[in-house]
Symmetry: C2
Subunit: 259 residues, 2 copies
């Protein structure tokens, strides 16, 4: 167990992608998702002063198995050395380049409520290749306040900001009821990638990518497995009981049935 399959997202609209990289190869989506993980692990290694790493140890640092890691890296080309491993710095550069992180991408954050404030202050974005270039909210009390040295702008400015800063990625942290409307405006202004925290399905034209983060859904997935474990334990307990007893039904809840 330890985690679910490969965490096939709770989320997920539908579509397909393939990318032609420098070498002309194609990178599977599942691989792209893991490249981000490898990058994180490589950064730790570099910080620790490691210059070279084997697929085995990088894989374990990233929490995947080494065959998968090697196959993933093979889509980028051959940057390892047989018998030795991968050069940490070179591989980092390769992955950054594949992910398009060499240009410190500008990101807009829409909605500076509870979640938005936390995100705006999150150091992990900056350190991993993103520059928050615009903070937007429509609450007059928030507009003009500063978060991490950046002023919150009124949502009337949304289109101007997206164009002025050449923003292609936006994060939506507004209530679900206005998420589609905000999304439409972002798309109209030229945004092509959206990370959506609102529990709403966004409709976008085909050239726009949406990824969603649904925290309650994540918990529900955990709940399913947790429940499964409990039911399993029940079955086993009952089986054990049946020996001494006859036909027991343990006290545990056991939700898997037919309601």
């Amino acid at each position: 167990m330890t985690a679910h399959r490969d965490q096939l997202d709770a989320l997920g609209v539908a579509a397909d992608h393939r990318q032609a990289n420098g070498a002309g190869r194609t990178v599977p989506d599942a691989t792209v998702a893991r490249l981000a993980l490898y990058l994180r692990a490589l950064t730790s290694l570099a910080d620790a002063g490691t210059a070279t790493v084997s697929s085995e140890s990088l894989a374990s640092a990233a929490g995947v198995n080494s065959a998968k890691l090697r196959k993933d890296l093979s889509y980028l080309g051959s940057y390892g050395v047989r018998g030795v491993g991968y050069d940490v710095e070179l591989l980092t550069e390769q992955i950054r380049s594949t992910l398009g992180l060499n240009q410190n991408r500008a990101v807009a954050l829409i909605g500076l409520g509870h979640l938005g404030q936390a995100l705006a202050g999150y150091a992990g974005f900056a350190s991993r290749g993103f520059r928050i270039a615009a903070l937007v909210d429509n609450d007059a009390a928030l507009v003009g306040t500063f978060v991490r040295g950046l002023a919150v702008q009124h949502s009337d400015e949304l289109e101007n900001l997206v164009r002025a800063e050449d923003i292609s990625i936006a994060v939506i942290a507004v209530p679900a009821s206005v998420a589609q409307e905000v999304c439409d405006r972002l798309v109209a202004a030229g945004v092509t990638s959206i990370l959506n925290f609102a529990p709403a399905v966004l409709n976008v034209p085909p050239h726009v990518d949406v990824r969603k983060v649904d925290l309650a859904a994540e918990l529900q997935i955990l709940s399913f497995h947790d429940n499964r474990k409990a039911v399993q334990a029940d079955i086993e307990a009952d089986a054990a009981l049946a020996h001494s007893n006859g036909a027991g039904l343990s006290a545990r809840a056991g939700q898997a049935g037919t309601a």
Copy 2:
């Protein structure tokens, strides 16, 4: 496009699951992840007063295709009526039951910094089947303060709280440097499911499930596709230019190459 494949998570450790439901059938992981989505869509429909829904319209409300939805629901049993559709209330109950949401599960939240504060105040958890039963931090300045009517407890109390409230699910929102340590304590206290926000790979025993949320990774995945689009646009622009020009290289960045 519209979204990536099925948003194979950026995250994901490795493992496999299968669940025997009431009918003795097995529910694929990919399906479990989508059940949470369907549930959300069903709740909206119920709020709107809809009593019955076809696979076609429920699918579109959830942003998936209808064949997939029907196949997914078929793992729970036959709760639809041919020629008519699904009863919203009945289906809701079925999914809730499958996900183990009929017992308002108690959740612990560890770390009440920027992110933790936002999560603690998030209404979406309560409305979708979870009760935040414990808030834990080790910062003396936070302990004793109240968030949504619940007092923040000192982390020394962690084990006691988990046992007292019979908590099996925990959310980790502490710095990455202490995430493993917090995780170990949670597991030792009896937690079996963890949602991890810290950018760190957690090692857990096999009976414990971990799901991770890595926001920077999400952005990096978006970045990859965004970059791909830009490169593609370049190629096309160059091809067009080549006709009038000879051999042009457009101004655009074009990061997909070999660094």
